[in-house]
């Protein structure tokens, strides 16, 4: 019979197998959050569309009319939509993941399950919202009679990249918030600043100096958003390889270290929460 050993050591051999055997809980946690979010609201799931639509409208107005930025040969509203959707995925996952462990403290102090599932479930919720808001893009593209080409097939790869960046940053924030509540105040700042240093409302090609562009691409969401636009808008923005590679390595590094830190600290969560 298999034997489980509980001791003070951090490393557990069957960490990943354990996680796998609890995979249904990931689904249920996400399912709960989605169910609960729209209970007792009048318009329900429509909020998942209304919010990004308003955002897109405001950003388009701000960046096109007020800041007078150029979008090349695609309608500005499409450019903004291409940036808002992946940014929304990142921002909502990041902030929800940060608070997730604290708001599940009751669960964490009463029962064992792989703690990683709690912040991970916020990514699932973020993805569902993302999928719903993709319909906005589809409607806009039909409206502007904009037909994507074969490059659209690469979109899932960029979605995965966005997931990596969101989960990496989210896990870091979640684990840190348990110990240092300071991060509850820091995370809205990160989202706000992140919005301005990501090409959500404008195209990265506005940054022309090469070294500035490299520096700019250290933000993993730059590569993600550029990739989205490249995939959706028939490559109208030229592909920027250094940006993608930087984004990939920064997201990968973020995710790897986040999982490491999370595993290192998760056992003590219950004593701190």
């Amino acid at each position: 019979m298999e034997e489980l050993i509980i001791s003070a050591e951090h490393e557990e051999k069957n960490y990943w197998r354990d996680l796998w055997s609890y995979r249904e809980l990931l689904y249920f946690l996400a399912w709960r959050d989605i169910l609960v979010r729209y209970k007792q609201t009048t318009v329900g799931v429509a909020w998942a569309v209304i919010r990004p639509v308003l955002q897109i409208a405001i950003f388009t107005f701000l960046f096109q009319r007020v800041a007078k930025m150029s979008s090349g040969d695609i309608p500005y509203v499409l450019l903004v939509t291409g940036g808002t959707l992946p940014w929304g995925l990142f921002a909502s996952t990041f902030s929800a993941a940060g608070d997730s462990l604290i708001s599940s403290s009751n669960l964490i102090s009463k029962i064992y399950f792989p703690r990683l599932l709690v912040p991970a479930s916020t990514l699932v919720v973020g993805l569902v919202d993302f999928a719903i808001s993709l319909s906005i893009l589809v409607v806009l593209m039909i409206w502007y009679r904009y037909v994507p080409d074969f490059r659209i097939l690469t979109l899932p790869l960029f979605i995965i990249l966005a997931m990596m960046a969101s989960l990496g940053a989210g896990l870091w924030l979640a684990a840190l918030t348990v110990k240092y509540r300071d991060f509850r105040f820091i995370s809205p700042f990160i989202v706000q600043i992140g919005f301005f240093i990501s090409p959500v409302g404008f195209a990265s090609s506005n940054i022309t100096t090469p070294w500035e562009r490299v520096l700019y691409s250290l933000n993993p969401m730059v590569g993600v958003i550029d990739g989205y636009r490249w995939a959706i808008f028939r490559g109208s923005t030229p592909f920027y390889w250094p940006g993608l590679l930087l984004s990939l390595s920064v997201s990968g590094f973020l995710l790897f270290t986040a999982i490491k830190y999370f595993r290192h600290t998760e056992k003590s969560f219950v004593d701190l929460i």
Partner: protein, 417 residues
Amino acid sequence: MSDYCISVEHLTKRYRLGQGGSSNDGLRHQLEAGVRALFTLGRGTSKGNKARPAQNEDFFALNDVSFTVKPGEVLGVIGRNGAGKSTLLKILSRITPPTSGQIRVRGRIASLLEVGTGFHPDLTGRENIFLNGAILGMTRAEITRKLDEIIAFAEIERFIDTPVKRYSSGMYVRLAFAVAAHLEPEILIVDEVLAVGDAQFQKKCIGKMNEVAQSHGRTVLFVSHQMSAVRKLCSKGLLLTAGQTGGPGPVEEVIQAYLGKISASERTLDLTKVKHDAYAMQTARLECLSIDDNCPVAYGEPLTFHLDVTCDTAIADAILGVCFDTAEGYRVITLDSDVCGKVLDFSKGKYRVTFKLPRNPLSPGLYNIGCAMFSGGAILDSCNAGVWEVVTGQGDTMTNRGYGGARLTFDTEVAKL
């Protein structure tokens, strides 16, 4: 030795007292330590120079605990509040890691430290069954298969699609326990979850647990303050005293050892050290509540205790009251001095009022004691004094029949009709 399903070896859990984890080594603290480390880097300070709280702030919830549990055994874990019972269960449930030592567990383990963990008030009964089941480690297929059985056990068929926030507390508990009762682990860990719910449902739960332990040959670890439940369910007992244990023994012996210990301590409750409710007219203070020397606190035996008060001014027509609440917060009896017809007129000074019960009617268990002093319809002072345990009296051979909080003596007469 090899025939075990849980083997606990030198288990120790240390908590740091004082500031608690969060503020003592908060971000600022860490940053400071980091900066300081940078500056002292070149000077070659010794490693032992780490900023650590003094050793005397450490508290050992468990201290070198070792025991084994054999498959099919039902082990009752007993001990006073703070003896380490919950910590032991939390470590066994993998909620918190031990500081040192280890536990080997053979078999699938499920723990129930609370009923309805993860219940969401906005979800319906049916939705919560799935959520709670998944949290407890059931698969979706397993839950779907047992859904009807769970709903029937909880007796809430009509309300299964209503959000649980609209449930009565009884329905809520029944649903929560029903899910837990349908878990099928090899080892089940249960904390004092039976303290909730009404007597009848408690009985049903104990019955279900008995069934689990006996017919399915499962191992159960059970923590409770209700000695009658421990007696009924468990074959062996484990007594924890201040984080230490002498190992498992026959349940009756362990219970006796526990009761022997508890009745000897904290018979005097110093009320100057507990929180008092604040009143505008605080002209008197409750000072001390104490059991008379050598008087047992046992069901069916006489009980004599004293309440000491200090009056700052003369207080006429005062009433002193002492009440006994169960751990769940139900008031069982109230002893108000005016009920026995005594008129208390105090002048300034300190007084001792003695309460004498010819026969303690309280069923064995833990009671929260509240004290209060009134005069002319106004409360002058009141507080929660503490907890007393009423133990089984010498002549008491009854086990738990669901008596409720108090038992009275009475006669029956039979007439043939």
